[in-house]
């Protein structure tokens, strides 16, 4: 192995290249001032500043405007003709927990056994050296909320910044969300009419129907059980001293103290309607994750102050009769109703790298480009409780910044040239680029 590695290094050196994946280093702390000049600055809150300059001092944005002059001796990044954005935020993901999903069980740490795992913390398994992370950075994604799965209560998520040596360095907002997974109110295997694929063929394909007779009833029973868990936890937490410590209940203290939000995973209308109970009964700050049917009850979500993370825009419409572009225009419906929402990218095939294009699609189907951008920056920061530190390019916030050659939401122009996390200019190199260089070398491609 060592030999191969060194051969590779030599090749790369000959090709005038930088380094292998293992030598893509997390950037060192920024000690001075950096000026990003002459760019089209998309603030993230809807504002666009043409020809503007951003001043970074150490980890923070210290100034932004059109008449700022770079201090002598400071680093200047010329963004003339380029677009400058807040670092994108992936609001609910298994990056660093799931390395290779199919066929390699050993590389998967995203789903735990058990039904009530409130004490499970995603951050403890988060792998800062996942190969996915470098690719995300090179597509402008600088922060991610790492979410555990499994059971009805899956545990807590932590927001990380994507350029770190280990998980303690990576943590950006520790244990900010508790995740609950809603039971399904739909029988996944119902009948078919004569058209399309007939029951005989389903039988031929080996598909049988053995879902619960009344899935809605089964789901409601399950929800009641989940609520009962929270009720008992609430009671437990009112008594400071216990003979037997209950870790599952202890882990819910942050949630009841409103230092943590409740993330409810569900797509179906009834799942979301039930989630309103969590607001009414327990007073939790509730975020829906999934939300593909949220466009149907947008006003109710707004009325209950529930925010939404739309998991997948590049999805087929839910039903045959739905508008063919429904998932594309769902963000516009939420925007119109005034719901606080963020866009996500849950694609296991492209490994979440297309977040900005999901926003682009939302912009094609009803949002303005700046609204769409906000859905992957400031809105996400608000939902994740980090808007005081990031999500927009404003003085006093962390310098989490992406520079792109053109419109970041449109694939053909979205090449990222620079990225900063907390003022540190981070590497955009990754294994994909390295292999690209390697084979350009092989075929003498320029």
């Amino acid at each position: 192995m060592k030999k191969i590695f060194s051969t590779l290094s030599v090749l790369l050196l000959i090709a005038g290249l930088t380094k292998a994946q293992e030598v893509v280093y997390p950037a060192k702390e920024n000690k001075g001032r950096i000026y990003i000049t002459n760019g089209t600055v998309h603030v993230g809150n809807g504002t666009v500043l043409e020809n503007a300059t951003i001043e970074i001092n150490q980890s923070k944005i210290t100034n932004i405007g059109t008449n700022i002059t770079a201090a002598a001796g400071a680093t200047v990044v010329d963004a003339k003709g380029k677009h400058v954005y807040p670092g994108l935020i992936l609001p609910a993901t298994d990056v660093g927990l799931k390395e290779i999903g199919a066929g390699v069980r050993a590389s998967n740490d995203f789903s735990e056994l058990g039904e009530y795992n409130s004490n499970i913390r995603s951050i403890t398994a988060y792998n800062t050296d996942s190969r996915v992370i470098g690719v995300l950075r090179s597509n402008g994604i600088l922060l991610a909320n790492i979410v555990p799965a499994g059971g009805s209560v899956s545990g807590s998520s932590t927001v990380v910044q994507l350029d770190a040596w280990n998980w303690e360095d990576a943590a950006y907002n520790m244990d900010g969300g508790l995740h609950v997974s809603m039971p399904s109110f739909i029988n996944r295997f119902g009948g078919r009419r004569g058209g399309g694929i007939p029951p005989a063929l389903l039988a031929q394909l080996g598909i049988s129907f053995n879902a619960p007779a009344d899935p809605a009833k089964a789901a409601l029973d399950k929800v009641e059980e989940i609520k009962s868990f929270f009720r008992q936890a609430k009671a437990y937490l009112q008594e400071p001293a216990h003979e037997n410590v209950n870790l599952k209940f202890e882990a819910l203290r942050k949630l009841f103290d409103k230092k943590q939000k409740l993330f409810v995973h569900g797509d179906q209308v009834k799942q979301m309607l039930v989630a309103i109970d969590f607001v009414k009964e327990f007073g939790f700050d509730v975020v829906i994750v999934g939300g593909s049917e949220s466009f149907q009850i947008a006003d109710l979500l707004k009325a209950n102050n529930i925010s939404v993370i739309l998991n997948e825009q590049h999805a087929l419409p839910a039903t045959e009769d739905d508008d063919i572009d429904q998932p594309y225009k769902t963000p516009a419906a939420l925007q119109k109703a005034g719901v606080l929402f963020a866009l996500n990218d849950g694609s296991d095939n492209a490994r979440y790298r297309n977040l900005s294009y999901n926003a682009g699609t939302a912009a094609t189907y009803g949002l303005t480009k700046e609204q769409a951008l906000q859905a992957i920056t400031l809105n996400a920061a608000k939902i994740l409780g980090i808007a005081d530190r990031t999500g927009s390019l404003e003085t006093g916030k962390d310098a989490n910044i992406v520079i792109s050659e053109g419109d970041l939401l449109d694939m053909k122009s979205s090449t990222v040239t620079d990225a900063f996390i907390q003022g540190r200019q981070v590497s955009l190199d990754n294994k994909q680029r390295q292999l690209y260089e390697r084979y350009k070398y092989k075929y003498s491609i320029k």
């Binding site: 290779i100 119902g190 087929l316 690209y436």
Partner: protein
């Protein structure tokens, strides 16, 4: 007297009437000839012929005379007066499994994770496949089941064809009557029919696991059986093939169960020079023209869907318009057959409750089926098809005495079947209705204080009013013989709202006499009733009643009659989806003006240019074009490109993966296209005009593929891209070695084995080709035929592949056997061996930016397409995903971003390059005069995420138009509203409803990776996982 006695005693001695000669008798011989004469009846001898006031004579279970005049009543005949009665031939059900034990179903199906069962579990000298069991003989496993027989008899059936409903070849059926006799005596014709289906039933063998696999297996079995006729020594004895051949002369009945399956079955029949009688699926009215084209006879179930409970709007949402429409229109199916002049039989098969049969038949008649045709479909047609019309199916001398006696026209709602005679034995159905009990009777009570007279108005066998001064509340029942009546002499104080006899209760004598309560019972002796009873004081009394008149005009039953106003019904659209056409769009001559035209030709991208479309072809591309015949479309500021061609798609098919074996080159996607997949329309909205529908990646040599054009609304045959070369799907790597399975037992398990599967298959194909040349009688092998085609460059490979080792190994197999791998699909490590692929002349069809979802794609890079392009390969970007196919233009846009390919070259990766890879670049892929008018008008630069297709045109026909789409959405919404209301109405009026059943969309895919679908979408491989 004698007549009446007969009514009640028939069943008792029925079993004694006939006995077999060879069977010993325990007791005293009691041979009877069972001679009966039915007089004064209206006899419907067959659907066309009715005799009034006629006589029917039977003896020894057969009809010996029927007619109006000149019928001699034998002296030893028991005479049954059938005045006001109707006699019909008993019905015949051609599709039952009466008297056959239900096969035990063990669900299996191909599963990426489960061990395979490669060979048959059937013991004995039978064929290789467990689902092919033509040796099954229903006659040998049939046993009389009187409880089941009764349920048939009660709805008018006298004979059925029964068979074992299990497997793809199901063996022979036998015609039996529904008499309660020994099996020996009820069997009219054994070996009456041969049965087939697409469903392998209880077979646990892995192959076939798909629709196209079932079709291929049928096809190969026809060939094998043909070959077996000469008893080839190499085969030994094969009882299955022997039986198959023996069965060929019988009526061939195919259980297809769906309109498209009907057509699929018929194509097999035509290919092998036979004709099936097809058991349909009830949705044939949706494609009646194509169904008529099969020239087959059909067997139709009356299993119409029930209304759903859609009061909860959230539940309602999950039910598709197509399903709601089918609920409304399913009862029109038989009428559609009649109108199209297609012969058909009706069956009770699939009904949850046999008693639904008449109700549903009446629904069908209400929807336009004629009573004559209904009668034929239940008698003559099935009897003729089965070759038993000399025995059953009409009332004629010499035929079996199988007939019904009813009290009115048999299909009328008011009519009751009284008796069902089978083989000369009477089976009572509802004999209490023999006499029309309705009418006004004089009721006399001989009370201690003298006779009291009332008028008794009998409404039915279960309701009567006693009328004195007032109408008195009464309870009444009549069972054909016994009468029971109880009433109070004082009217009810307050009419309860639901009581039918409330009228007249007002103003009755309230004061004075104390109420007396009478409870009476007695028997009917013709029109006179006699009995005794008791009053409240305990006095025993006697009573009589005598018929006076047939009574007042019926008023009570009319309320329930449906108003006979013409119903507004859904229209049959093509496809039968919300987005289907009422009227298909037509080919137009179009002049698209002032667009940015991406020609994909040496002219490159033309600004402010025009495209002229005539007769489905591109007539001209250039500036300032004019044409008086063409409709002008102003495309200022818009972009026009050739239609997108998806090299790797799995839409529009009923099955995709035949994973039962490692080599399945005999299966063909073309055999099972599904032109009603909504994803066709959705992809049109993304500018796709052609899709290459590939077999999945479950095995090394998969099935033959089919190139289609997205002609939304066409039938399966018209969907095909005509004149295109045939292709076949191969696959390498993790999927075919079944990496995710911990218990794989199917060869191969490694890439070493995958290479040898290829090597072996082509070695066998070479030998086969040689043998075939030497001896044309060599057994045809469809699997090897396809491989021979490849070697002879008549069929071309598109090969699922990822890593450099397997790609190189495949290339070398090609070299060894003298063919090239036409296309490598997925090919995420293609960049590593692009030079080798180029040397063989292979195309590459890949994803823009997928990686790292399994081990073999750890080195996948988004720069792959760009590198291969720069090395000089013909590079395509494909979808392999029903959702992403709608955004292939954007996927091409990513190639500009990753690796800096020019915009024009990037667009070619989803248009011209796939056309080249598929050998259709002479027809499609660029905007050039003479090519097919398959093009897209985009709102923006087509590589931009902001671009939408405004119009997508195939063959000069606008199949997608964003403005029309907006109108269609409104139509869908209003039609959904109407049908939802109608279903709710059905529920509120007390009609049967079932819970809302979500209309899941089944998506098929190669089983290779994750897909993002809607809530109501099921992936077949998900289903397989869930089933475990």
């Amino acid at each position: 007297m004698r007549k009446i006695k007969l009514l009640f005693s028939g069943l008792l001695f029925a079993a004694l009437l006939q006995a077999q000669e060879t069977f010993p008798v325990n007791g005293v011989a009691d041979k009877r000839e069972g001679c009966y004469a039915f007089t004064n009846a209206t006899i419907v001898t067959n659907a066309q012929n009715t005799l009034n006031n006629a006589t029917l004579v039977i003896r020894d279970g057969k009809i010996i005379a029927v007619g109006t005049t000149g019928v001699v009543i034998p002296k030893d005949a028991v005479v049954v007066d059938c005045k006001d009665k109707y006699i019909y031939p008993s019905f015949i059900d051609i599709y039952s499994d009466y008297g056959i034990a239900a096969p035990q179903r063990a669900m299996g199906g191909f599963n990426f994770n489960a061990p395979a069962q490669i060979s048959s579990n059937t013991k004995g000298a039978y064929g290789w496949n467990q689902a092919i069991k033509p040796e099954t003989d229903a006659a040998k496993v049939f046993s009389v089941d009187d409880a089941k027989a009764k349920s048939f008899r009660d709805i008018g059936f006298g004979a059925v064809l029964t068979h074992v409903k299990d497997g793809i070849a199901r063996g022979t059926g036998t015609v039996v009557t529904l008499a309660n006799q020994n099996e020996n005596l009820v069997m009219l014709k054994e070996g009456a029919s041969a049965h087939y289906s697409f469903n392998r039933g209880t077979s646990t063998q892995s192959y076939p696991s798909s629709m196209m696999g079932s079709i291929a297996l049928l096809r190969q079995t026809y060939l094998d059986a043909q070959w077996y006729k000469n008893k080839p020594a190499k085969e030994g004895v094969n009882l299955s093939l022997q039986a198959w051949n023996d069965n060929q002369s019988l009526p061939q009945i195919f259980e297809a169960e769906d309109k498209w399956n009907d057509l699929r079955a018929d194509r097999i029949a035509k290919e092998f020079g036979t004709q099936y009688i097809i058991k349909g699926g009830g949705n044939e009215y949706q494609r009646i023209k194509e169904i008529a084209g099969t020239k087959s006879a059909y067997i139709l179930s009356l299993n119409f869907p029930q209304a759903m409970d859609v009061e909860d709007p959230n539940d309602a949402r999950s039910v598709s318009l197509g399903d709601m429409k089918h609920w409304e229109l399913a009862p029109t199916n038989p009428a559609a057959f009649e109108k199209a002049n297609i012969p058909f039989c009706l069956t009770t098969a699939d009904l949850r409750d046999a008693r639904q049969f008449m109700t549903n038949l009446r629904k069908a008649i209400e929807m336009g089926l004629s009573e004559t045709k209904a009668m034929e479909a239940l008698t003559k047609t099935p009897a003729t098809l089965l070759g038993v019309y000399d025995k059953v199916g009409s009332i004629e001398t010499g035929k079996l005495a199988n007939f019904l006696i009813t009290n009115g026209p048999v299909f009328s709602e008011k009519t009751t079947i009284l008796q069902n005679w089978i083989q000369g034995d009477k089976y009572g159905v509802k004999e209490d209705a023999w006499y029309d009990v309705k009418g006004i009777y004089n009721l006399t009570l001989n009370t201690p204080s003298g006779p009291v007279t009332y008028s008794l108005d009998v409404k039915s066998a279960a309701a009567a009013n006693v009328i004195g001064k007032d109408t008195l509340t009464s309870k009444f029942s009549f069972d054909g013989k016994q009468v029971k009546l109880s009433f109070s002499t004082v009217p009810a104080r307050r009419p309860s709202s639901g009581a039918p006899m409330a009228a007249g209760a007002f103003g009755g004598a309230r004061g004075g006499a104390a109420a007396a309560q009478y409870r009476l019972s007695g028997v009917a002796n013709g029109n006179n009733w006699n009995g005794y009873g008791e009053d409240t004081a305990g006095h025993k009394i006697t009573w009589t009643a005598s018929f006076v008149s047939s009574g007042t005009a019926a008023t009570d039953s009319s309320a329930r009659r449906r108003p006979n106003i013409p119903q507004r019904l859904s229209k049959v659209t093509f496809p039968f989806d919300g987005y289907g056409w009422e009227e298909a769009p037509k080919q137009e001559n179009l002049l698209i003006k002032n667009a940015t035209v991406w020609t994909n030709e040496k002219e490159g991208k033309l600004e402010n240019a025009d495209v002229l479309v005539k007769d489905g072809k591109i007539a001209k591309v250039g500036k300032n074009l004019t044409d008086a015949s063409a409709k002008v479309i102003d495309a200022t500021g818009k972009h026009v490109t050739a239609g997108i061609i998806d090299e790797h798609s799995h839409i529009a098919a009923s099955s995709i993966n035949e994973g039962g074996q490692s080599v399945t080159s005999e299966v063909r996607i073309a055999d099972n296209l599904n032109p009603e997949d909504i994803n066709i329309y959705r992809q049109l909205s993304g500018g796709v005009t052609s899709s290459h529908i590939l077999h999945g990646s479950a095995n090394t040599i998969g099935g033959q593929t089919q190139l289609i054009k997205l002609r939304w609304g066409a039938n399966d045959e018209d969907l095909k891209f005509k004149g295109a070369d045939g292709f076949i799907k191969f696959a390498l790597g993790e999927n075919v070695k079944r990496t995710t399975s911990t218990s794989n037992n199917r060869f191969p398990d490694t890439r070493m084995g995958v290479e040898e599967v290829l090597n072996d298959a082509f070695a066998r194909a070479k030998d086969y080709e040689k043998a075939l040349k030497a001896d044309p009688k060599t057994k045809r092998d469809l699997e090897l035929d396809a491989l021979v085609e490849i070697m002879n460059k008549k069929r071309f490979i598109t090969c699922h592949s990822y890593v450099q080792s397997e790609i190189t190994a495949a290339l070398r197999i090609g070299d060894k056997y003298g063919f090239k791998f036409n296309t490598f699909t997925h090919i995420l490590e293609g960049y590593k061996v692009a030079d080798k692929m180029k040397a063989q002349g292979s195309s590459a069809s890949t994803f823009s930016d997928w990686y790292y979802y399994k081990v073999e794609v750890t080195d996948a890079i988004a720069y792959n397409a760009a590198i291969m392009h720069k090395v000089g390969l013909n590079v395509c970007i494909n979808s392999d995903d029903a959702e992403m196919a709608r955004r292939l233009n954007q996927e091409a846009g990513k190639v500009v971003r990753y690796g800096g390919v020019s915009e024009e070259d990037a667009l070619k990766m989803v248009t011209l390059n796939p056309a080249k890879a598929l050998h259709v670049d002479d027809k499609v892929g660029s905007l050039k005069a003479g090519k097919d008018a398959d093009l897209v008008i985009w709102s923006d630069n087509p590589l931009s995420i902001y671009a939408k297709s405004e119009k997508t045109i195939v063959d000069g026909i606008v199949y997608f138009d964003r403005e029309k789409d907006a109108e269609q959405r409104k139509k869908i919404s209003s039609e959904r509203f109407r049908l939802t209301q109608k279903m709710i109405g059905e529920k509120r009026s007390g009609g049967p409803v079932r819970p809302a059943e979500p209309s899941f969309q089944v998506l098929l895919s190669c089983g290779d990776h994750d897909h993002k679908d809607g809530l109501y979408t099921i992936h077949t491989e998900d289903a397989e996982t869930l089933n475990k």
